[in-house]
Symmetry: C2
Subunit: 179 residues, 2 copies
């Protein structure tokens, strides 16, 4: 059964630090795209290089994933009218809420908030849901991946429109083709 | 139904670069632990700081997860007698092989190989399976998380022995308790 989703998934990356988080934030953006989210909003230190490198990947590998910088995350959160989900190891097990969130996605947008090391206390209040992917310390990249994987019913996007290249899955070796 | 596993899951992290990969490799190690693997073997540049920081997390949050450095990954791979799974976006969909790997894990160890940017071509030959978690560029941390999540039947380890602290899951805020 295929469900028409009216909403889309947006990632809010909080507290990015240009030096320390460059690769983790890039990985989070690429996971967002590969697992079916539509956009990442980057907060914290402004970082043109991440925005550019993610856009280059989109240009090459396709799809309509967007990434943009936002100076004022509180203003953004105030404006956002969908469901706000904050991923944190201190929250409740994400699987308790996944079908509720899937239902919400049929009608409105979902914002998935992922922080860097220190998340301001107010985020726990502003979020509609504080959800944990395990209660152990690990990685916001992994938490985001597993959360999106379950949210989209363990399916990955099949087609990325306007891709210039595509992987040809192989038992051994690396193969890509132009499309 | 609970299955007794005779084998355990070990992660082989290839090509670690001290400056560039410090945080990504740490995240991969913490994901390995939180999602049920027993050990990470770190190859590439020697990096005492990662080994120490992961061991500190284990001391505090419990469990028997190990991490150690190995200079010669080819010798390690030759010695390893279990099933060698290489995670790569160029491989075949991991879900085609997951139940086969689950069955193998009842009897022997599984080695999950995750590379940094460039993986030597020989790895594709040495690996028993080259498996992709999506065929899009994203993150070895995310690939490892989703692979382990499915491998362990979408269950996380429930108890980490000898933990000093534990999260108390909360609807709002952060709560930990001493154990």
């Amino acid at each position: 059964m295929s469900i028409v989703l009216m909403g889309c998934v947006i990632i809010l990356r909080l507290g990015h630090r240009k030096e320390r988080d460059k690769r983790i934030t890039t990985h989070a953006a690429l996971v967002a795209r590969a697992f079916g989210a539509k956009k990442m909003v980057l907060c914290g230190e402004e970082d043109e290089s991440i925005i550019e490198s993610v856009r280059k990947i989109v240009e090459r590998w396709g799809g309509d994933f967007e990434i943009e910088y936002c100076k004022n995350y509180l203003a953004f959160l105030k404006e956002f009218s969908g469901l706000k989900v904050h991923l944190t190891m201190y929250g409740i097990d994400f699987r308790e809420k996944i079908s509720e969130i899937q239902n919400t996605l049929k009608e409105k947008d979902i914002l998935v908030i992922v922080g860097a090391e220190k998340v301001p206390g107010e985020i726990y209040e502003i979020a509609d849901l504080n959800l944990a992917v395990t209660h152990q310390p690990h990685s916001e990249v992994a938490a985001l991946a597993v959360f999106l994987y379950e949210l989209f019913g363990r399916k990955f996007p099949e087609k990325f429109e306007n891709a210039k290249i595509e992987v040809v899955p192989c038992v051994r070796g690396k193969k890509v083709k132009k499309v």
